[in-house]
Amino acid sequence: MTARPPARGADVVFVSHEATLTGAPVGLVQLLGWLREHTDLRVEVVLVTGGPLADAFADVATVRTVAEVLEGPLPRVLFLNSSFSAEVLLESEWPGSHVIARVPELEVAFDQALAPAARRALLERADRFVAVAERVRRHLVEGHGVAPDRIAVVHGCLPAEPRAPAVEAVAAARAEAGIPPGAPVVGAVGSRSWRKGADLFLELAATVCRRPGSKAHFLWLGSDDGSWQFGRFGDDVRRAGLSARVHLLDDHADPVPFQALMDVFALTSREDPFPRVALEAAALSRPVVAFDSGGVGELLVHADLAPVAYGDVPAMATRVEGWLADPDRAAGVGGRLAAAVRAHHTLAVGGPKMLAEIRRGLAA
């Protein structure tokens, strides 16, 4: 849905590089909903490319094209929701707009996947950076020389405490995944890709399943990234002899029942700044294990957990097995993580922090 340019510029134009069911766009839709409820800001959205969330964006803000925005008075604040949104900086210098760059990327995504011209424009033009984790802030400072006082850290957050799905919905999800009733489940959610470490998830499954007495099943919820290796990932599962124990499902409109059936949430990402899926699992009181190559340790610390050294699959397997063997301990960890989400990572906490950054830009 697009609209005619307004007579005066919006207070804030948010730019999302896509409207997929992935962390950054989902989080932006929720932030926009919170802003609409709590402020009188005139807000518009530019979607660089579309996706299944396009209608959800249209429900919470006026959606315009970048050309339409550039025709009229420019916004007082241009909010880039991810580094990949920086391509709009190549179309205009956005004179008079205060540019806030939210950065949910780490080394490979920021330094390799992001086009050099867009990266340069972002680093030069952004007035303020919002890093989604301390780990991201360090990368901007140490890897790119961004002055620390140009960066705020606002961790990712969820709109509210999730409601536990109905028992029937969880049972249906289990059946859809083909996991036998009662079998323990180790799960992951995300794009089946190199960065998300789907191959490492298979290594984890193989390691756990080899250990005596293991009954665990492994569920990956998320479509492949279009590459041939992950498009044919089922072949690799078969080659590992794990077709009966590793279950692959594509993206699902409602992932919560699948997340709720996971006894352990395993984040095998090679790099993941502060993944929303880990927050969602934590909010459902799932114990979370992750490698130390991303920012999720900043969540785990609230449950007195440290992430596992990157690549140490046996160590991750040992932690998974420990939780599966001791459900009370797992529940304790999950409970502490859920409390951490309630205390630090809901929009009730994160919304005002982000609003403060926006107001700072409006006042600039």
């Binding site: 080394e107 490979v108 390799q112 190199w194 960065r195 191959d199 298979l202 290594e203 193989a206 390691t207 080899r210 041939w228 290796q229 044919r232 072949d235 690799d236 080659r239 590992a240 002899g241 090679r270 790099e271 190559s293 990157y310 690549g311 140490d312 699959v313 046996p314």
Partner: protein, 355 residues
């Protein structure tokens, strides 16, 4: 043997296993038969001159008018040639591929032609035989296993002292060298090589891990290189790219690690065996058929930890290592030397010609 005109169709002339094996077979036939040999290259590559030295080389446009008694498709990648081949010649297909290639490199029309037009399939391992039956529906009665081979004497003669790369010599520090070789594509699993290096380092720090062949930079390997750095293996794991003589590198390896997810019957394993280098591999590859019976170590795919344990055992167990190396050397000489395997392939060709 009545002299015949044999046309060999190769999908390309790359410096990879199947074209290299074909060249060895052609040279053998030149020396040991009166057959007239023609090569049809469906695509080019660095071995074009080597093929031209064997006999006439023609291109795909010449297929329809091909005058041959027997057409030898060197891989299923050459199967599209069947669409334009005249009806007369007998057809042999040498299959070096597993499931992915059999289902994705060729289409159903190609598979149908393979089922109906090929007189005999020669496959490089039992693993390939099973894949051919599963993915193409070929009757096992039309399939013969002809394992890959190398010129053992030439391999051994071509292995000088440990190789140098720039100013650095692998193994010079006196520590262990665990090497691998191949392209750097997904199915050869450079990612698992990193996992193996990390697992070995946890047990025995200070090793060197060269990967010979494939890309040393670029999109295919950038993610792996980033992962290497993330694992703290920047100085110990090196992707050295294509080397003029990979065997010189192999000779400096303490252990050859075949970390492939999918590999029908890699010749690099035979070369390592000929050079006295012990081999570890996953059971998802055809290498398991060569490494069986104490000729190497095979671990379940993708059990990197078990592979690391095997590597360390080979580093530590002098007598066990020596026995394994000797068994592999005996097997490669007995079953996988050019002088043994090429006559068997020649016999298969003669048998089809006579049928």
């Amino acid at each position: 043997m009545t002299p015949a005109r044999v046309a060999f169709v190769s999908h390309n002339a790359s410096r990879s296993g199947a074209p290299l094996l074909l060249l060895q077979l052609q040279r053998w036939l030149l020396d040991h038969s009166d057959h007239e040999l023609v090569t049809v290259l469906l695509d080019g590559g660095p071995l074009e001159a080597d093929f031209a030295a064997v006999g006439p080389v023609v291109g795909p446009d010449d297929l329809a008018g091909l005058d041959a008694d027997l057409v030898y498709l060197n891989t299923v990648g050459a199967a599209p040639a069947l669409a334009v081949l005249p009806d007369g010649p007998k057809v042999v297909c040498h299959v070096h591929e597993l499931d992915y290639a059999l289902t994705h490199w060729i289409d159903e029309a190609d598979r149908d032609r393979l089922r109906h037009r090929v007189d005999r399939f020669l496959v490089v391992s039992q693993l390939v035989r099973a894949a051919l039956e599963r993915c193409v529906g070929v009757d096992p009665g039309r399939v013969e296993v002809h394992y890959g081979f190398v010129d053992v004497a030439a391999v051994a003669a071509g292995a000088p002292a440990p190789a140098a790369s720039g100013t650095r010599v692998i193994g010079a520090s006196g520590t262990h060298v665990i090497g691998a070789s191949g392209t750097t594509e997904w199915r050869k699993a450079p990612d698992l090589f990193l996992a193996l290096a990390a697992a070995v380092e946890r047990r025995r720090p200070g090793g060197e891990y060269p990967w010979v062949g494939g890309a040393d930079r670029g999109p295919e390997i950038d993610g792996v290189l980033a992962d290497r750095d993330r694992l703290g293996l920047t100085d110990s794991v090196r992707f050295v790219g294509e080397q003029p003589d990979a065997r010189a590198w192999f000779a400096a390896f303490d252990v050859f690690a075949l970390v492939s997810r999918d590999d029908p019957f890699p010749l690099t394993v035979l070369e390592a065996a000929a050079l006295g280098v012990p081999v570890v591999a996953f059971d998802s590859t055809g290498a398991r058929e060569f490494l069986a019976d104490g000729c190497g170590v095979v671990v379940p795919y993708p059990d990197v930890e078990a592979m690391a344990d095997a590597v360390v055992r080979l580093l530590d167990d002098g007598p066990g290592r020596a026995a394994l190396v000797e068994a592999a050397r005996r097997r490669v000489r007995a079953d996988h030397d050019l002088g043994v395997a090429a006559p068997r392939l020649q016999a298969a060709i003669e048998s089809v010609l006579a049928s």
